[in-house]
Structure formats: structure tokens, C-alpha cells
């Protein structure tokens, strides 16, 4: 019986070359030290990709890529389709994990000098995979056809529209027509489901083939330099000395990590549930503050913080420069030291980029540059700012609300962060300066001259002159004589002590 089974197995192997395939792939030799916890992120990313394929196919069984029905099909998935919510959640968390683990993989590969000779193409194919993955993240966000998706497309169109000469044509191409509508969703669906995944599968195959043919990067040793003349022989030597078959000798940490990733996706999906959809993609519902998913929050922040006059130039060049630098990395530093212990510039660059991206993402989460659109009707100036005030000053506080000043300026933590907080404004500006600022505006503040009556300006300025702490002297005009509190402040605000605030 066993003999028969062996015969069958041999026959199959003879016809389909399984053992040769095994020897060339899972059984290929790797340096034993490369079976390290630092080398697990590539496999982790691949697991995420497979999760995305499986869950993506499942979602496509129900999802309708039509501008008129996408939203209701997502609602159906969330609430009616059995386990639809969990599949959507796993797809969403799969993408979160994929972007995060891929970044870890990128950082590890960069710090361990794995992009150096002779693995330049492995790095380059990896950069293409990174771009494809970000493309998947963006197009996936569009398929969740809600308000954020709709206005995210608007932002994309507005950026593409800045391209000189070709702008309008590119916008048309991107939207599949003159406006964001049915054809727009269809083409992003095509990108998300056919074009980009197909590219990813092809490039992943190349990426893995390169890992097999050029070998996995050896664990870097400080002082051991990469030289083109000797590298191949040295790597061979190391394989001979310490080489072990990837399966089963070096695979264990990858296995454990992959299982943890898969469990992490399932647990996060089950605990936190799916994302959105957040409100129908109906452009006439304009009371919305669109925001991208977390992988693009940094971009959202950069777009609002860069200087206005450079914006178009930066939008149209920086992405290409950054991508160009990524592609050029293996040629900028092709040989030499691999160990991060001897590459301070590489380590500092990574830290710098992480801090910058982290800071922008942090800013993006609460968007201090956006006016708080409903602050004027729902934020409250704390009572301590109004106690013991004259009628004129209180009238000014009311103007501060009704004229939407509070949408951009906060008082006592209530209100927007677009403009400076005004808790201490009286210590900075004299009454005359306040009047000028309100009427003429400047920089990022609109001029209110036409929209406020003189009485409203007087009230507003009177209110703002009370905004200083007890220990601060109100600002005074140095060209005028006399004590600060008498000559420079409108009557009613001058001789009263403002309440002490924390």
C-alpha cells in the first residue's frame, strides 16, 4: 500500500516538478542569521495582501460599483448581509495593517542596507509595490462612496487641475467625465479591483523571484563592507558556512509573525468594526468637513500648511521628487557599509522622516487650520469671561459669536484654532490696533469692515480689551503718555480687574 502511494507521489512529482519547485523556493538556502525577527515584515505584508484578496473578492460578491447604489450596498453589507460587517472590517483593517507593516518592512530594509549591490532591483520593485499599495489605499477609500470619498475626489481633481495646459484634460480623464459621478466610481473600481491588484501580483512575483535569485540580505555586520568585486563570492561563502534551508530552519519567526498579523486583523475587525460609510455622497449636503484616512492625513496637513505662493509648484513637483529619491536610493549608496550602527545619516534620515510624518499626521487628526464651522452656534464662551462685564462688553461677546469670530478664534478653549487664541489678546494689542485688525483684517484674517456696524466694532473691541489675565498689563500705546490703564483703553474696561484664569 505504502509502496503504491509512493509510486503515485513519484509519478505526480515527475510530471509537475514539485520537489524541484520546493528546492528552488521554500527549500532554498538562506544565511542562518537572516532567520531573524527583523526579517518578518515582508511575509507579514504578503499575508495582509492575501487577506485583502480574499476579503475583497467576498465584498465584490455584494458591493455595487454604481454611484447611485454603492452607498446602499455598503449599508446592506453592514447591517443585513450575514457577517458582511466583519468582512468589511477585515478588509479595512487588512489595509491598515498592510500599509503599516509595509512601512516597517521598508524601514528595516533601508536600515539593514538590503537595497545595496546586487539587490537594487529588489528595492525598486519594492518601491513600485509601495506606490501600488498607497494607490490601493486611496482607491479603496473612494469605493467607500461617502462624503469623504466624494470630496476626496474633488481634492484630487483640484490638484490635477493645477497641471499647466493639460490640467482640464487630466481632470476629465480622472473623473471619466465633466463631474464626479457614476463613471468616476466605475474607473476607481476598475483600478482598485483589476489594474492595481494585477500589477501588485506581477511585481510581487518579481520581488520574490529576486529574493530567491539574489538571495535574502545577510544580517549586516558593522565593518563588513559591500564590494562589487567580492560580494557574490562572500555571500556564497556565508551560505556554505551557515546556510540553512528557509523551510523549515529559518521560517519559524515568519510563521509566528504572520499568524499574529492575521489574528490582529481579525481581532481588530471584530472589536472596532468596519469604517463608514460616513454620509451619502450627495454634493448638495454641504455641511461636511472632508478628511482622508490616516495614511493620507499627513498629506492633508502638508497641503494646508505649505506657503500659498509655492503651492502649485510643490504639488506638481514634490511627489515626483520624493518618488525619484526613493527609486534612486540604491544608486546613491550602492556599496560599502550595511550596518545601521555605522550609517548615522541613514538612521537619522529615518528618524527625521518618521518624526515629520508623525507630526503632520498628528496635526491632520485635529486640523487646527480648519475653522470650526459650527462653533458660532454651539461653542460657549466660559462664564468667567463674562462675569462682571459691562453691557457693551457683553454685547461684544455676542458679536464675537454671531459674526463667527469664534469659528476661527478660541476663547477659554471654546472655538476654532484657525486664528490665534484670544485669551490674552488685550495684553498684545491696544484698542486702536484691535479696531484696525477687525476692520482691515490681515494675512489669514478677512476684513470685517463692511460686515460690522461701528457699534458692533466698538462692542467687540471692548470685549477683547477684557481678554487678559490678572497678572498681565493691557497693551498700551507707547506714543501716548500716562499710565497704561487710563489713556489707552476704552472706558468701562480700564479700571476693573479681570478674573484670574488658569
Amino acid at each position: 500500500m505504502i509502496e503504491r502511494l509512493r509510486k503515485i507521489a513519484t509519478w505526480i512529482d515527475d510530471r509537475v516538478y514539485i520537489s524541484k519547485l520546493y528546492a528552488a523556493t521554500a527549500g532554498h538556502k538562506v544565511p542562518s542569521k537572516s532567520g531573524s525577527w527583523f526579517y518578518v515584515f515582508g511575509s507579514g505584508t504578503l499575508v495582509c495582501f492575501m487577506v485583502q484578496i480574499v476579503t475583497g473578492i467576498c465584498l465584490a460578491l455584494v458591493y455595487v460599483p454604481s454611484a447611485g447604489e454603492a452607498y446602499s450596498s455598503l449599508e446592506y453589507l453592514n447591517y443585513q448581509q450575514q457577517l458582511g460587517w466583519l468582512l468589511r472590517a477585515m478588509h479595512n483593517w487588512g489595509s491598515n495593517f498592510m500599509v503599516a507593516i509595509m512601512l516597517l518592512h521598508l524601514i528595516q530594509v533601508f536600515l539593514f542596507g538590503a537595497f545595496k549591490y546586487p539587490r537594487e532591483m529588489t528595492w525598486i520593485s519594492g518601491v513600485v509595490l509601495l506606490l501600488c499599495t498607497l494607490g490601493m489605499a486611496f482607491t479603496g477609500q473612494i469605493l467607500r462612496f461617502d462624503q469623504d470619498a466624494y470630496w476626496g475626489l474633488g481634492i484630487g481633481a483640484a490638484m490635477a487641475g493645477r497641471v499647466p495646459l493639460m490640467g482640464p484634460a487630466i481632470v476629465h480623464m480622472m473623473l471619466g467625465g465633466p463631474i464626479i459621478a457614476g463613471e468616476t466610481l466605475s474607473r476607481f473600481f476598475t483600478l482598485h479591483v483589476f489594474v492595481i491588484p494585477g500589477t501588485i501580483i506581477a511585481i510581487v512575483s518579481l520581488h520574490l523571484r529576486l529574493v530567491l535569485t539574489k538571495g535574502i540580505n545577510e544580517y549586516p555586520v558593522p565593518g563588513k563592507l559591500v564590494k562589487k568585486e567580492t560580494y557574490a563570492a562572500e555571500y556564497e561563502e556565508e551560505l556554505k558556512k551557515t546556510g540553512v534551508p528557509f523551510f523549515p530552519k529559518a521560517v519559524s519567526k515568519d510563521l509566528i509573525f504572520c499568524a499574529l498579523v492575521l489574528l490582529g486583523i481579525v481581532v481588530c475587525a471584530a472589536c472596532f468594526g468596519p469604517e463608514g460609510p460616513h454620509g451619502l455622497a450627495d454634493p448638495t449636503q454641504i455641511n461636511t468637513a472632508p478628511k482622508p484616512d490616516y495614511f493620507f492625513l499627513w498629506l492633508f496637513a502638508v497641503l494646508s500648511l505649505m506657503p500659498d505662493y509655492l503651492e502649485t509648484v510643490l504639488i506638481l513637483t514634490v511627489p515626483f521628487i520624493v518618488i525619484g529619491i526613493l527609486f534612486a536610493v540604491p544608486f546613491i549608496s550602492n556599496t560599502g557599509e550595511k550596518s545601521p550602527r555605522r550609517r548615522p545619516v541613514a538612521v537619522l534620515s529615518v528618524l527625521f522622516i518618521l518624526v515629520v510624518l508623525g507630526a503632520f499626521n498628528y496635526l491632520g487628526t485635529f486640523a487646527p487650520w480648519s475653522p470650526q464651522m459650527d462653533a458660532w452656534s454651539n461653542a460657549e464662551i466660559p462664564v468667567t469671561y463674562l462675569e462682571g462685564r459691562t453691557p457693551l462688553e457683553r454685547q461684544g461677546a455676542l458679536v464675537f459669536h454671531t459674526k463667527q469670530c469664534i469659528n476661527c478664534h478660541s476663547v477659554g478653549d471654546a472655538g476654532g484654532l484657525r486664528g490665534p487664541a484670544l485669551d490674552h489678546v488685550a495684553a498684545r494689542l491696544t484698542a486702536d490696533q484691535l479696531v484696525r485688525q477687525v476692520i482691515q483684517g490681515s494675512g489669514n484674517m478677512p476684513a470685517y469692515g463692511k460686515n460690522l456696524t461701528p457699534a458692533e466694532v466698538a462692542g467687540l473691541v471692548a470685549f477683547m480689551r477684557t481678554l487678559h489675565s490678572a497678572t498681565e498689563a493691557p497693551a498700551r500705546d507707547s506714543t501716548r503718555t500716562g499710565p497704561a490703564t487710563v489713556d489707552n483703553i476704552p472706558s468701562g474696561t480700564s479700571l476693573r480687574v479681570a478674573p484670574v484664569r488658569q
Binding site: S66, A67, G68, E69, Y150, G154, I155, A157, A158, A160, G161, R162, V163, P164, G167, P168, A169, I170, V171, H172, M173, L175, G177, P178, I179, I180, A181, G182, E183, L280, A281, D282, P283, T284, I286, T288, A289, L303, S304, E311, T312, W369, S370, P371, M373, W376, T402, K403, Q404, C405, R418, G441, G443, N444, M445, P446, A447, Y448, K450, N451
Partner: protein, 182 residues
């Protein structure tokens, strides 16, 4: 089979080989040529289909009624909406396009696109402070659409309008961008 035959007659080998090579290379060239032709005949319609969206001229824009003049009181700015003239049956709510209509007096209007000139987010009108504010990056515009503050590079996009048969008409149908304002 063919090779062993050639091997059997060594003295004619070179001649036959050259002949065979030339026929083979002819077939190879023919194969490439035919595939080239086939690829062109295949890719022209495919590219024509895909690239047709590059076309920006066309029947995209037209005059659309926004409603009777009485809907728009003088000295007021109101949100109006129209169904985009270029639509597909599956467009759903995305074909409903909003715009801000400001009636100065009589037949004098200004119709602003909803899209901020910075990055296209929907601007909101604040009647009290007479400002349009954008929720995305904090752009602000005065009531006449001119730039008041923030990152937008210009004032609000303005649609053409006309008054006919007691109705206000807007010339719309195109998402306005910096390269192609409404």
C-alpha cells in the same frame, strides 16, 4: 526529425541550413509583422475607448434653470441646486450639483460654484459675517466671491447666468478647477 535528416547528408548541410534559416527567419519576420498589425488593430480601439475621457470639449455644459426669480430675495445669498445636464442613469445623488446664488438687485446676480478654489471642498455661506468659509484648509471669501483669506489662490469660481421667462438660468455642467474655471 528534420535535423537528423540533415545530419544524414553532411555535404548538403550548409546549403540546406541557409535555405531553412532564411525560410525560418522569413516566417519569424512575418510572425512579428502580423502580430504588430494585429496589435495595432487591437490597441487603437482600446486606446480610443480609454483616452476618450481626455476630451474636455463636448456637450457637457448647457443652460439649466435654477428656479423663479422669486426664490432669490435681493441682497441675499442662497444655496441652489441643479441636475447636471450630462448624466448617466446610475449617477444617483452625485448628479445634483449645488451652487451659491447671490442676488444683488433686479436681474443682477452672482452664481458661485460650491467648490473652494484651493482644493475643491464645499464652501459654506455665513449670512451673519457675510463670508464664505471652507471647512478643509480654512479659506475664506467675501460675499462677492473675492478672496478674503487663507490658501485659495483666487476668488470663488463664478458661473455665467441669464434671466429668461422669469427664471434664473445657470451655464453649468463642469466641475470647476483652476485650469478650467466654471
Amino acid at each position: 526529425m528534420a535535423i537528423s535528416e540533415v545530419d544524414a547528408i553532411p555535404d548538403r548541410r550548409t546549403e540546406v541550413d541557409t535555405k531553412k534559416t532564411s525560410r525560418r527567419s522569413f516566417l519569424l519576420k512575418l510572425g512579428f509583422l502580423l502580430n504588430g498589425l494585429a496589435a495595432v488593430s487591437f490597441s487603437v480601439p482600446v486606446l480610443g475607448y480609454v483616452l476618450s475621457s481626455f476630451r474636455t470639449e463636448g456637450p457637457f455644459k448647457s443652460w439649466i434653470p435654477l428656479g423663479p426669480l422669486t426664490d432669490f430675495p435681493e441682497q441675499q445669498t442662497r444655496l441652489a441646486k441643479y441636475r447636471n445636464p450630462y448624466t448617466r442613469p446610475w449617477d444617483g445623488p452625485t448628479a445634483e450639483i449645488p451652487c451659491w446664488v447671490r442676488r444683488l438687485e433686479g436681474d443682477k446676480f452672482q452664481i458661485f460654484a460650491i467648490n473652494c478654489t484651493h482644493l475643491g471642498c464645499p464652501v459654506r455661506w455665513f449670512q451673519e459675517s457675510h463670508l464664505f468659509m471652507c471647512p478643509c484648509h480654512g479659506g475664506a471669501f467675501y460675499e462677492d466671491g473675492s478672496h478674503a483669506s487663507g490658501p485659495p489662490p483666487r476668488g470663488l469660481y463664478e458661473y455665467q447666468y441669464k434671466v429668461e421667462h422669469g427664471q434664473l438660468w445657470v451655464f453649468g455642467g463642469q466641475l470647476p478647477t483652476l485650469g478650467q474655471p466654471a
